[in-house]
Symmetry: D2
Subunit: 368 residues, 4 copies
């Protein structure tokens, strides 16, 4: 008799997710079945549920997860780094599979721009077998082509899931665009998971001073506590752009502004502000503008006059996820990543989603 596996399924826009059961899958050719230890809830999931970003339904949600290999197809013998894979291994995986053959994948070499990427928990319906193609479930069926990565022994499941997809997202934009030097000041706009990840990696890449601009105060305190940043500017206190600029300038040598600004706020006006916060010849990374809120007033004169460098980055591909996992042994020595987590049972998925939507926790994860 086949075991049944529980999963949180979105069946219609704005409807609560349902807990459904599906037969435990067998690994497909070149694939694996993973027993999920934790599935993260991401801000994007809130957009999916509310219909802001269209998805096929019904769908097992969850594009962030970690777990243990339950079954393995014989054709799959190593992880993406060439390390042997066995049943029982603790693993994580890049949540998307670019086609690997198109102009974007091969010529532009930007797999994140591939138009036919398959993404677990985002564009894989649960209508047909193997059904379990999202992380919010007892098991997930990983297909051939998924970049599976063994988790280093000293790293816990909690530490892998703590930054969720924000970790590789920040890393992608930062590694491929920014030059951060010892002694630099980095300002991060936004204190959600992407902002926290960006702050942590700014430190990791050598910044001397990381300043986090965000809210609410409790999240900023947590950020300081785990050493994600050195200083904060509380947007609840510094409510207008000019006040924040003034405050940041005072914090930087000779009031020059930040060497690097990383926008993770998601609000269009934050980009206009980032051009002010950056020092002359500084760098700006626009990570937060995932959804289209239309045009906002921006003064392009600053781009020429200050000789700025502005970069956009979107999502991540396999390489960034590998780098993310490689960085965790060192990150965990410096930061208590586990302190970011709030754990919910899988069955409490709707409560967990509401908590995220209300900004009442830093990182919610489900434990199936």
């Amino acid at each position: 008799m086949t075991e049944l596996i529980k999963a949180a399924v979105l069946t219609a826009v704005n409807k609560p997710l349902e807990i459904q059961e599906f037969p435990a899958p067998a690994p497909s050719t070149g694939g694996a079945v993973v027993t999920v230890a934790y599935a993260g809830i991401c801000g994007t999931d809130i957009h999916l549920k509310s219909g802001n970003l269209p998805v096929p339904m019904p769908i097992v949600m969850g594009h962030e997860a970690v777990g243990t290999i339950a079954a393995l197809d014989p054709a799959l013998s190593t992880d993406i780094n060439g390390a042997p894979l066995r049943v029982g291994d603790r693993v994580v995986w890049s949540n998307n599979i670019p086609c690997g053959r198109c102009h974007e994948c091969l010529v532009l070499k930007e797999r994140t721009l591939c138009k036919s990427r398959k993404i677990y928990g985002i564009n894989r319906t649960s209508s047909d077998a193997p059904h379990l193609l999202g992380g919010m479930a007892g098991q997930i069926a990983l297909e051939a082509g998924t970049a599976i990565i063994r988790i280093p022994d000293e790293v816990s499941f909690e530490e892998v899931i703590a930054l969720g997809c924000a970790g590789p997202t920040a890393l992608h934009g930062m590694l491929e665009n920014l030059t951060i030097h010892p002694g630099d000041t980095v300002a991060v706009q936004g204190s959600g998971p992407v902002g926290l990840a960006a702050a942590i990696y700014a430190k990791q890449m050598g910044a001397d001073q990381v300043i986090l601009l965000g809210a609410p105060a409790s999240r900023l305190e947590l950020a300081l506590e785990i050493g994600a940043c050195d200083e904060v500017i509380d947007m609840g206190i510094y409510t207008d752009s000019a006040a924040r600029l003034e405050k940041l300038r005072q914090m930087t040598a000779q009031e020059r502004g930040a060497d690097v600004v990383i926008e993770c706020a998601g609000v269009p006006a934050a980009v206009a502000e980032s051009l002010d916060l950056a020092r002359p010849n500084g760098q700006v990374l626009v990570l937060g503008q995932y959804t289209d809120h239309g045009a906002t007033p921006i003064n392009p004169h600053y781009i020429t006059k200050k000789q700025l460098k502005i970069f956009g980055s979107w999502g991540f591909a396999e390489a960034h996820y590998v780098k993310y996992v490689e960085s965790l042994p060192q990150l965990r020595k410096r930061h208590d990543l586990g302190a970011l987590l709030t754990v919910f049972a899988l069955e409490d998925v709707n409560e967990a989603m509401d908590t995220v939507a209300a900004g009442q926790c830093t990182k919610a994860v489900l434990k199936p």
Copy 2:
């Protein structure tokens, strides 16, 4: 008896320039006196005259010039490249002298950001000796520290002055920021001198297809004629942004848009448009926003979504001027640079300025 040298002097905002006479200067320590062959008139000169950009007055105008060494201080024996300098040599020089000792010059290594740059024809008054510190004159007194460059034998004065300061300005932004590959499409917004220089250098750096968006039609025809670009989009015909975008897409492979967009239009809205014209993961260089026209609606979602790279660049320093002169022997083989010139006598400076202000010629130069 000392010879008298004629010069075009701005004495008050919006007043016609006066032709005044000053005693022929002797070279200062480490300096040289140059007999001017041509002085260019730049769009910036129109701004200076109208008071948009404040300058000390009275002032001998002209920040672009070429000429022949009339006198040389014994302490000055070579040009910046180490080539010997002698009276009678044909030379050109970088028009600005950064201090070379400040944070911007030495730590940021962006001499164009130096706050105490001395600029011939822009911030050097003619009140005191040696008076002749601008190019619109029979002679100019170059001080120690000026990067003087011998003009290669095969290059004429006309060819050096044809692109004026637009040549090193475009080169600065392009060399330090852009990656142009063989096969690339480069779109240039704006058909003034900076736009023409950008188009010419895009070709020189390996672009396969250079598309110039500008007006009027006569200037676009001239651009095609001298091979500055391969294709044009006439803004007199394609008057709105959507139409230009559609046209450009049709010109590019699979309608992807331009690999590189260089904004040389000077209008803030051009920057909003540049984000549309660029292909996913493309590059945008904002060269044209020299004056502050305030904020304009720009959609920052495109920066993240398309993963764009946007760079600003301002002016130039010695290295760019040297590269500019080094490139001329090759440029002149491919383009009839002299065709860009309209020559006026020094005495006709006001007529020449009016012609430039009215956009009735491509490049006006004065012959003292």
Copy 3:
């Protein structure tokens, strides 16, 4: 009755190639059959025949070819750039298929380092169907995953095959490593196909002065004739390293040496010499050391003292082949690429191989 297709097959080391016949193949799923117009002979083919580089035998040789689509599987509807593909289209293809899933392909993002690349004409035996997996044949069977590229209308077969695999090989190393600026001097060591391609692309990427060091005199004359370089240093005249260095210095401004040196000579001693030829802070690209000739005396003091940048590059992947084809419309306007070719009938493959081995032609190609 199935048509029979002729192919040049290597059956044993150092044995002449045999002309064998195989049944005309049908396209495999996602694949295509191409009627070969020309197949190039490359220096590597000489090594394969002599056993220097081991290959599976019997094998249809030929890793460079161009042709016309004879048959197309319905699953294959566009080329790698997204352009529609139809029977009768003139095409070329990247000769190797990296696995696309390993650490090298996905994490290092260096598909040329993939250990399980399949290469037409190099590691595909003709033992089994479809047999025709090399270019020296009437037809070649291209499998799913091959990066097929439509040839632009204005470009002839002769122009595509003229640089053979040397074109994308040079482009790979140059685009990913070198910074060539207008005004730069580039020295190329070696006047074989890779050297000629490197010289042509150095010019294309903006170099003002390209100096080719090589032999014999006839090949250098051809290089000058088609504008591949501006100057030559004949190694038959300048036989020792010191003399070549002295000569090159005299050709460069202030005797500084070359801004960029591209080693395409294949002789280990050329790398020692490249460190001398480069100016202080110059760049060296080592393209020619494909085979292991062991250690040679090199003075590493120059690397520190001159602050050199030295890059190695090997082969090419899809992106470089696409860039290569994209660059041809512009290249053909500047250089008579067809002048490089010597055409042999497929049946004369052994004579053609001998001619290449003896260095008696610049680029030998077979016409099936």
Copy 4:
């Protein structure tokens, strides 16, 4: 009556340094007089004394020093970063003054290649006033043009001098050439001051695993103790190159080798070994080949086959010294820099020099 200042003077090659007395200097125009707190002894000083590197004599030695401003010319009001300077401020300075006007300084933008750099303690004789132009003295006279940097309040003199000129030297090479990512393995060859500085900065720039190859065991233990590296390979145990390579491979994921190798050993053979230690497509920085020991056998095939990137770097300029000081507040939190020091009295300079020559201490400094 003028105060007399003691200084350690080299009067002839291989002669012990003499303690001489000079009148306390007054600041020259734009200059400062600094009371020296510590002067470092560098390996280069041993070469100077032994005549390996020629210097003008007599000379006050010492190109590394820190101290307190004793007197300040009114023309000097700020440090290089624009911070106000006052008598009593604790300062350090870049030990060399490039001319700032030559081709190397302005066009190549490599001030370290300037042929007319003035270097305190290296090419400034004590024959004439102000005599005190080296650090091994009670006071040093700094001239206009010296990049003086205020020491941040939380940083001690000991912490600034601990890495001596090795700090900015390593930083120069690393910041301008290397890309170090979170998760990377960096191998450093050589455990002298440059090696230790390179290891510390590799960690600072994000490396996960830093492996130091060197000797003697005591120095490796100290390196581990202060957290300069994560692992060591003791050259006293692993005496041949093949054994070290094997050991390093075992320490890296899938035995790929190091992502980055930094050669700080000074022995030519180390460069041959670095090509082995680096992973395919890895980076090698050659920092250690300051003196010319002639050619050594190196296999250039690896450069092409492994697609390596090899960089050379020499000395440092102002920007690197500023970055060095900016990085110290963060470095001191992570590493007990003071543990590297062995302090000698100025009068014991010859004993200190002998100790350094014998490799019996990590970093010897003089306290005047």
